[in-house]
């Protein structure tokens, strides 16, 4: 009996050491970023010997959130933070809404309707997902410039929708395929049309899958750098990643404020991902295995 409990204790110990190592890998970089953002630049520089913070202040965050440009010690970017945050929110919400809407229509047809040419079509959709973005932004830059859509939020939303739609279709298709078909059959037997079945039965049933897909597309748009930095780099429409990238060309990098900006940029997506973890994991796993 004592032999078994000894073995169980050993298993517990291994599990704890193993998981603490994994958690250290996940958390230490973010902890480092947080420590680097709750100090003034002066405190950060004067405290080079140890990573522990010398002081704790929320001033970096307050300056950024209020866009307060009165303190000459801060780089000019701080004044653009509120605007960039708002731009990111507008672009990400619009893109997520449009991709889930259009994606659901296609995904349903791929999952449930054995239409002619379905295999070739789904192959084409999957293939478009693998086109590297850098090959698309160069021609899009010229096209949007000719259309007068360069440096507009509309231009950013439209291009992001195009780039994320194949992925959204793939995620939602996997989700629709996982739903049991009997409710739809029952609706059909009761005389509901195919289109009516989709809107009255399938859409309400797939709220969890659509929410997960919404969160994933929101997050991918929020995090995207290459599209906005090439197609919307002006101050009025810049998103948070573009604002973050603008620090890089600075003559001397003030990491206290860069860290604070990066921390505020990752907060919404990390919170969303952790809150909706179960759905996001299901969506990502299905999307990665099947496409």
């Amino acid at each position: 009996m004592s032999h078994i409990s000894k073995k169980a204790r050993r298993r517990q110990l291994i599990a704890w050491v193993w998981n603490l190592a994994a958690l250290a890998f996940i958390l230490i970089p973010i902890l480092s970023l947080l420590i680097g953002s709750i100090q003034s630049e002066k405190a950060l520089i004067s405290n080079m010997e140890t990573p522990l913070p010398k002081e704790i202040t929320l001033r970096n965050f307050i300056v950024l959130i209020t866009g307060d440009n009165t303190d000459a010690n801060y780089p000019v970017q701080v004044e653009h933070f509120p605007r960039a945050f708002l731009n990111s929110a507008i672009v990400s919400l619009s893109t997520a809404f449009l991709t889930v809407f259009f994606g659901a229509l296609s995904a349903y047809s791929l999952a449930r309707l054995p239409f002619r040419g379905r295999n070739a079509y789904s192959f084409a959709v999957l293939a478009t997902r693998m086109v590297p973005l850098i090959a698309l932004v160069i021609p899009l830059f010229i096209t949007l410039r000719n259309l007068g859509l360069l440096n507009t939020l509309t231009g950013l939303i439209v291009t992001q929708v195009g780039f994320l739609l194949p992925f959204t279709i793939w995620l939602l298709r996997a989700y629709f395929e996982s739903l049991p078909g009997d409710m739809e059959e029952a609706a059909r037997v009761d005389g509901c049309t195919r289109l009516g079945t989709f809107f009255r039965v399938v859409v309400p049933l797939s709220a969890p899958g659509m929410s997960a897909t919404f969160v994933i597309t929101f997050l991918l748009t929020w995090n995207e750098l290459l599209i906005p930095i090439t197609l919307g780099a002006s101050k009025e429409v810049q998103t948070l990643p573009v604002l973050l990238a603008s620090f890089i060309s600075d003559y001397s990098l003030q990491y206290s404020i860069i860290n604070a900006t990066a921390f505020l940029a990752l907060t919404p997506t990390v919170i969303l991902a952790l809150l909706l973890q179960k759905y996001v994991v299901a969506g990502l796993t299905a999307g990665a295995v099947k496409g």
Binding site: F102, L105, I134, L195, T285
Partner: protein, 316 residues
Amino acid sequence: MSASAAKSNPGFLTRFFLGWRGDLGINQLAFLLNIPTVVILILLIAYPLGYAFYLSVHEVTLSTLRSGETPFAGLKNYFTVLQDPLFLTTLGRTLVMGLLSVFLMLAIGLFVAMGMNMEHSRISYVTRALVLMPWAVPPIANGLMWSFIFNSRYGHLNSTLYSLGLIDSFIRFLSDPTLAFMAVIIAYVWRVVPFSALLYHAALAGIPKEIYEAAEVDGANSWQQFWRITLPLLRPVTAVLLILRTAFALMIFDEVFALTSGGPGDSTWTAAWYSYWTSFRLIRFDTGSAAAFILAVVIGFFAWVYIRFVYRRMEE
């Protein structure tokens, strides 16, 4: 008379979309549902891709764009790029960086997944709750986060090593070609580990416990169980991760931008960075597009293998 004729002979479109009793046929409904997607994909992926090819076989610089005359250049841009030693080393480096990153991602992801799978201990639930975090971090924020960690003036890696007495003076990680190359890989791997951890965890959870119990009865130790049972059963998911994540790793851009901007010298230039630099810093859209197209072909090879793999699995 004419009204009743119209009623008994509905127009083509009405018949096409509504068919009998207002219901759509399978093909019609599929057509209707896919109109937005097809329009969007043609306008925003197919057309730009074709246009990128057009750019790559013409002379397109800021001045030729202004004048509106972009002369045909044939394969000249491709020759220019393929004869550029910088592009060739960059492409080779991208492949090495991509494969190294993916191998590290697989190894660390498997480690994390095995921790997540230790359900007899409460701590595994914490790992499962937090494993998504790196995936949610914006890549450019991730790059800046690591550039702070690796910073030579007050970065936390230096200060940690110093306070532990492991170094006497701060190391300039990002000024050394090899260390900077490793730094980019570490930053990238940290962000993509959730992909492999999640997929490996799903695969591990699907392995029946009885197999391990039987192996234990036969006297196999944990090490043997890992090599003889776990790893072989993880082969399919490893293949998916290896192909798909390598294709994506070849597009690495944000971490390079934030950590090194290609430096020191050109030691961390990657293919996407080359294309970006040529197009948007040097304003050479033609050679930039040619470089992007060559990258697309390399990625297309991995994509082709991946799609074939996926379709074979779906048919099974």
